[in-house]
């Protein structure tokens, strides 16, 4: 089969011939229909410091995808050939403390398909049956390809009460943009968004943000406090990883507010714990991955009921072999999602 692989410990990826994965008794082999590029894939392409410590070439990348089950292992009963599926690509151990208390998404022994073992930028991918998510046929294939990052957004938004609450999204990359749509669909009141990139601010408005602020051009904290009678927002959804955005987000959050942090800062962030957390009686949540598998149930229920319009997110589509153009475009800061087709473009 054809696959997009990192062959050497160096910048770049290559389009290769690879063997169709052999599956074990509890595995599922999926024929990939549509895949999508994650920011993490860009890091691996560029071979940054993090990639150098984590990735062991040769390996097939790709952890955002949907497809159709080709065949299943002999002990698999709940999935069958022909099922339309996506998958949770974080594979948990099942026996550590976190797995035992219902927090498998932060398992101490987590492995990620497409990072630690061969992934979905290929004609076929092997997945443990427990991680397969069967999709309702009413969910469009391009939505099926981005459930991994949409799950990040749903996990973040629904990590606490959202209905009737004011919300600030700091950072309007793809997950930030999805969070805007999810928050609106789940009953948030005013949604604020901050973003320095003009294209992304335009996208934020399309996704439903009520007030979009360019923090490079105006005082974002002052603006948001002004629009909330001086109280601040109920909920901060931090999607940038940028220290200044994090600090502004905390300042614009009301006493008693919730800060859910998904964006990844590259270094230690100085926090004014007294004024921004302690005296505020705030709740700060680290968000990682998606709840296994509650987030998937919530997300697919929202999609099946037609509550989420994510169309503005979708841009380029390309056959898998044309990956270079796609990666180059994303390096340029486009917030949308680019879809790749290992098995031929859809009609």
């Amino acid at each position: 089969m054809k696959a997009l692989r990192k062959m050497q410990p160096a910048r770049g990826l290559s389009f290769e011939s690879a063997t169709v994965p052999a599956i074990g008794p509890t595995d599922v082999l999926v024929r990939v229909k549509t895949a999508s590029i994650c920011g993490t894939d860009l890091h691996i392409y560029g071979w940054d410091r993090w990639s150098q410590g984590r990735i062991k070439p040769p390996i097939t990348l790709g952890h955002e995808f949907c497809g159709v089950v080709e065949r299943v292992g002999e002990e698999v009963a709940a999935v069958k050939a022909g099922d339309f599926v996506s998958a949770e690509m974080h594979v948990n151990c099942g026996h550590c403390h976190q797995c035992r208390v219902g927090e498998a998404h932060i398992c101490q022994n987590l492995r990620i398909i497409g990072i630690d073992q061969d992934g979905a930028f290929a004609e076929f991918v092997k997945i443990p049956a427990s991680n397969i998510i069967k999709l309702d046929p009413s969910i469009p294939e391009h939505y099926g390809a981005i459930l991994d990052p949409l799950g990040n957004a749903v996990h973040t938004v629904l990590a606490g009460p959202i209905a009737g609450r004011t919300v600030l999204v700091t950072g309007c990359g793809p997950i930030g943009l999805m969070s805007i749509a999810v928050a609106k669909a789940c009953g948030s009141s005013t949604v604020f968004a901050t973003e320095t990139n003009e294209h992304r601010r335009t996208m934020a408005r399309k996704m439903g943000a009520d007030v979009v602020v360019n923090p490079a051009a105006e005082d974002a904290v002052k603006k948001i406090l002004g629009e909330t009678s001086g109280t601040g927002v109920d909920v901060l959804l931090e999607m940038s990883g940028n220290p200044t955005a994090i600090q502004q987000g905390f300042q614009a959050m009301r006493a008693g507010g919730r800060a859910s942090l998904l964006g990844i800062p590259t270094e230690s962030v100085p926090l004014d714990l007294v004024n921004d957390v302690i005296f505020k009686g705030a709740t700060v949540q680290g968000i990682y991955g998606r709840r296994m598998y509650e987030t998937w149930v919530q997300m697919t229920a929202l999609l099946k009921a037609g509550r989420l319009d994510l169309e503005p997110l979708f841009g380029e589509r390309a056959p898998l072999e044309n990956f270079e153009i796609a990666f180059a475009k994303l390096q340029g800061g486009l917030a949308g999602k680019i879809l790749l087709y290992p098995d031929g473009m859809p009609a």
Copy 2:
């Protein structure tokens, strides 16, 4: 001033001259602009057994309203003349166990304005300052008049997680109908509704219910289980008080589901606790009034952000003195809200 009062312990109400209430140092006097008739008002009109035990004539009825502050007591700082307001008409004691643990809505010494003391079917009504809710000018006056029952609906829907959940509303009177709109606005997936009255079923569809069932004509439990892959709904919002509807609701709810009960049965209800609650690991919640004042904050935030379209609910409007026609229409089973105007009809 003019007021709609119960003067005698007998059926009926009368339109009377009354004295404008004198206010104490912590009270607010409100000029009523729009009032709305509650089902409880119908019971008092009809002088049923409950009314006979609770109501002490002479008394002015009315607990759904909005208006403009006329004047405030000398110790009142947070409300001023001219403010556009509604009010929580349940007045709590402040010192019982429930008041002390943040559950003032189930205060042991609760008194209700319009039930236990003079209410809002009048040109003026006296309210403790703590119970006044200032309304954003963007909230329409007719919405301001129905915040009391809308608060019941919001309290019920948001008494547990709702986003991405399937919902069954049993009983489509006004609060049931409002609950449909609130559940949809807060991210529920499929909303089912059961109702025997055809007019109300039509209303349920207008409010956004996805599947509306007439339990007199088909097997509601079978229908709902069939539409949820045999699993049942995540959330039951019981709005009828009807024993059969309650039992069907429990049967159509999934294991691990939430049943939030607002409808008032008139007698003891036999429950299959083993199969419908215990083996299901279900959570059953009694819902009373509105959380003081968290529900008001949620509700007004939803309205201010334009998340709720309640227009289908509104029907007749009449000057207060024409109350007889309004009460007669509601006795006929109309699900909508009828508005009364003590101070003249709006332009």
Copy 3:
């Protein structure tokens, strides 16, 4: 090996020779050291209506036990021969809605070892590796044998806040008695218990109940309201399944209280939903099994830290073959736990 089995669809059990179970790749074979008799075993012994519908002889009973791992299947990594273990005997399917949202204990396809397949009243028992609970060596073997019912108690007590709350336990069978100890260990304030059997009332005091009431001799509701300034208890833990006890429990619970129901009524229970649930704003929870596996983590942590003294519960101990005397004693209403030893009595 020797095993205690139901061989025919009729009253009684018999001590039989049986084959040591063959284990599959994901199974564990455990040498049983200590087992304990559950009330359910008494029902199966007596061959009541429920047993007739559920049990398919021949089958080995027993679902409360601890032992030492004899050997493990080839795919089992987290358990090894020699480990001191107990097990969750409810085996979930892993793919139904409840399994997917973190509620495996109410899986739609649950099977119970010792009920639906051969259990632990034998020298060896086969358990899926996922269901094995490794025990800290500091936990005494007789405690290890009763973790299944202790888990019921812990699940019930910790199904909501308990610290600083008044508690009523209705029904002082073994799980009721354990609940008293667990509630005290977890910071409850006054613990009330109701029980008609004198022996069990004595046990309740030994387990730490502050006020023990015989509802056959005095007005339990009046007594409890009197001792709580008329407010009622914060938490009802219903352990009897008796309709009168359930009704009294609800009446003795405060507005805003929590009722957690574990006891199994044999028929439909008429509830005054208006006064006991709805106007009270109460929360009623059905409790089934133990959370998989959060309850096990909580329970073993409490035991390891020495927070629970359950010694008063333990009575008779006997070799497995002397089961007839043990079953006869339990039929007589003794609340304690009787231990059976398939592999010889401990030194």
Copy 4:
């Protein structure tokens, strides 16, 4: 009357004659029996930067106390002369966003008695009736005097689940020490404590800590990870405000853990948000004051039921006029509580 007052914007306090406070219609006048010195009082004595910005002399200090009601204003019904009481000294506005959503303890307009207006280091203190806490006569007077800091401890410990959880208390000042006792009483499993002061480590053991670590002498993180199978503790209760202790606390907390922060750092703290919060899926809570008034209900219930032994905390007792010695001793780093008696020493 006699009172301990700050008369000038300078270091020190003085014992003065003062007028008995006049009370308004909703106030209560309390005759102070026992008062206790808070760390904040030491800051005000020393006239540090914070004091200079906040305190407006002349003012009577003191916000930890109990006493007996002398008289009440004409509108006060729930408190009467002779009642044994303490009080919540944080006075909330009742109408800001936080007050409206049940978070009065983080009111936007909070005023503190003993900081912003005359306090309890005097024969009499004036308190709004809403803030009076009636105490059960079974609660000892010296416990009544320290409910303010005990409430901080209870608020922190019960800000999330504690039963069956491992706990780390960083910093063993009075509130840290109380937190150890509260955590144990509420079912925590192993309690770890870190503290550099030897006297305080001894106190920590007396209060019930299982493992007490001197982070100046050994690697606290390594020690705690070692004792928790490498997993880390479930709950961090941060009581020191020390940046190093905060960082170590986060490192010793497990993925999915809860960090509740009460200690006040004097400057910005650099946090490794990625590894200590985000990838851990941690929850971080700022803790301020006590929940109004849920914490008081929990705390007094625990005391009434005899769940808390705080005797090791109590050291010196002195008449109010001998305050200089008491303040001097506390400056020396003693962790215990010193009691002052404005109305004469108890028999």
